[in-house]
């Protein structure tokens, strides 16, 4: 049996191809030399220490955190209702509606970015964090809808019916029965949509005006070789944050599938 073993070897090589490039960022962020090349001169934490001294970076970080939080709330709220509608009810045009909500995933970024810039200025909205929030919510919506759809897939409708039969109203049932059961899905959706916004560059580049988010700030630093070590340190922290947030999201998503009531 030679074929399975070559395939397995290929699979492991592929993993190296996927992970190695990304891992060079943290590796060289500890390099005391300023040139990103082997051999590594020595090990240092200086680049990380210097991050805290940069005011524009801290401001960009706050911008990104704020935008990400609002985007997570908005897209998860809209996604929650839409996912429930798609899973629970059957209506004419449902497939078209589900397709429409997934559309932001496939439109090329430059077209979304340029057309939104034109729209917002047409409506009298100057590029700012507000327009970034509006754009990112659009991009994040497909993620929250698909995560919450699988959360509702595993939700037993008879729980709600039992609640209605006991004379509990619609909103009270939603708050006391539906929400607690799908809450792991809600948390997973908020974490994922936050990360989508936190990492997004092209839309923010077009729409942020003079209020840069963190990726836009990084973009402005990449051009200067002297700033390279700082970008590496900052980038490594961002990589770690994204991965941690998504592992957490995956944990909650699994819990939402496991919490099916029999």
């Amino acid at each position: 049996m030679k074929r399975p073993s070559t395939l397995t070897a290929y699979a492991f090589l592929y993993l190296v191809f996927l992970y190695l490039p990304v891992l060079f960022l943290p590796l060289f962020s500890f390099n005391s030399g300023t040139i990103v090349a082997f051999p590594i001169k020595g090990w240092t934490l200086d680049w990380y220490r210097k991050l805290g001294e940069q005011d524009t970076l801290i401001q960009a970080l706050w911008n990104s955190l704020g935008v990400g939080t609002v985007v997570a709330i908005l897209s998860t709220a809209m996604g929650l209702f839409a996912a429930r509608a798609f899973v629970r009810y059957r209506f004419r045009g449902q497939r078209a509606a589900e397709g429409l909500v997934m559309l932001p995933l496939v439109i090329p970024g430059i077209i979304v970015a340029s057309s939104m810039l034109v729209l917002f200025l047409f409506l009298g909205l100057k590029p700012s964090l507000l327009t970034v929030v509006l754009g990112h919510t659009f991009l994040a919506l497909p993620f929250s809808v698909s995560i919450l759809k699988s959360a509702f897939d595993d939700f037993d409708a008879s729980l709600e019916e039992a609640s209605y039969d006991l004379g509990v109203g619609v909103f009270e049932t939603f708050r006391r029965v539906t929400l607690p059961v799908v809450s792991p899905g809600i948390i997973a959706s908020m974490l994922v949509t936050f990360t989508v916004s936190f990492d997004e560059f092209v839309l923010a580049f077009f729409l942020s005006g003079n209020q840069p988010t963190l990726p836009v700030y990084i973009w402005s630093q990449i051009r200067f070789p002297a700033k390279l070590p700082n970008v590496l340190a900052l980038g490594s922290i961002l990589l770690l944050t994204s991965v941690l947030l998504l592992v957490l999201a995956e944990y909650f998503r699994r819990r939402s599938s496991a919490s099916e009531v029999r």
């Binding site: 699979a11 990304v22 082997f38 059957r90 810039l117």
Partner: protein
């Protein structure tokens, strides 16, 4: 119950999401179309409808060149990514014991910032970069290789890395759907593993392959970051030119026209591709 029918409840609950996406797809598109018929000289916008932007753009050799190159690079990226990804999808669906762990491993790097991943490739492929310095340290080369960065190769390699999960997942799903009894039947009828793959497995995964190709091809044509960071002047694509119109050149009507031309070209190529691939899938069977 507040709403009488199931349908009206469905409409009401899904309305915020569909209205939001619908508005942000349709409204910018309409304004973009309007802009493409206007003209701009310095700061004054002339709203007399004209086809001048279209004739200018289509007559401009640079636009044609960048558009064709964008489609060619996106096509190359699609072929390379799907070809590299298919064996992985096959491995996870058919051979791997811990499927969920493998799927998670494949998707984790995708969740790191796209900008940072492209930036990492710039550092790796650079003239004084990671790859050249490592090869020189190992004594494999005497002087740095200069063909690694700032060309089409760098763009294709970077994007094949960036899109990997988008190619693996749809193909994995279509492999997962194959009824094992079909494979057994093929073996029982005397097919070799290769014949079985060509006659049963591959044709049945054509929908997954088509999905993977579209998911990669469409955003790649309009990619801005990768050509800007690792493309150099030989790897520039249409998105870079569009950005210039909305930025430094400050010619929004031309930018809008280019966006629309790009969108129409992508749509056209995608439709032709889907039709040919479906036909081809039928013929294999």
């Amino acid at each position: 119950m507040i709403f009488r029918s199931e349908a009206s409840r469905g409409y009401t609950l899904s309305a915020p999401a569909t209205a939001y996406v619908g508005f942000l797809v349709a409204a910018p598109l309409l304004i973009l179309i309007a802009y493409s018929f206007w003209t701009q000289t310095y700061v004054t916008l002339d709203k007399t409808p004209t086809l001048k932007n279209y004739s200018d753009a289509l007559a401009d050799p640079l636009v044609r060149h960048l558009m064709l190159r964008s489609i060619w690079i996106a096509g190359a990226v699609t072929v390379v990514t799907v070809a590299l990804a298919y064996p992985i999808a096959y491995f996870i669906a058919m051979k791997a014991r811990k499927k969920t762990i493998w799927l998670l491993l494949i998707t984790i790097p995708f969740w790191s910032s796209y900008l940072l991943r492209v930036f990492a490739w710039k550092l790796i492929l650079g003239f004084n970069g990671v790859m050249n310095s490592a090869l020189m340290m190992l004594g494999l080369i005497d002087e740095p290789l200069d063909f690694l960065l700032y060309n089409e190769f760098a763009v294709v390699l970077t994007l094949a890395h960036a899109w990997a999960p988008f190619a693996i997942l749809p193909i994995y799903v279509s492999l997962q759907k194959i009824d094992p009894s079909l494979l057994e039947a093929a073996t029982d009828l005397g097919n070799s593993p290769l014949q079985r793959f060509m006659r049963v497995t591959l044709p049945l995964t054509i929908p997954g392959i088509i999905a993977a190709c579209l998911i990669i091809f469409i955003p790649t044509v309009g990619d801005y970051v990768t050509p800007a960071l690792v493309g150099g002047s030989d790897g520039k694509m249409i998105a870079n030119l569009i950005q210039v119109q909305f930025g430094a050149a400050n010619n929004w009507p031309l930018g809008a026209t280019l966006s629309l031309i790009a969108m129409l070209s992508v749509g056209f190529v995608a439709i032709v591709f889907v039709i040919t691939a479906t036909q081809l899938g039928r013929r294999i069977r």
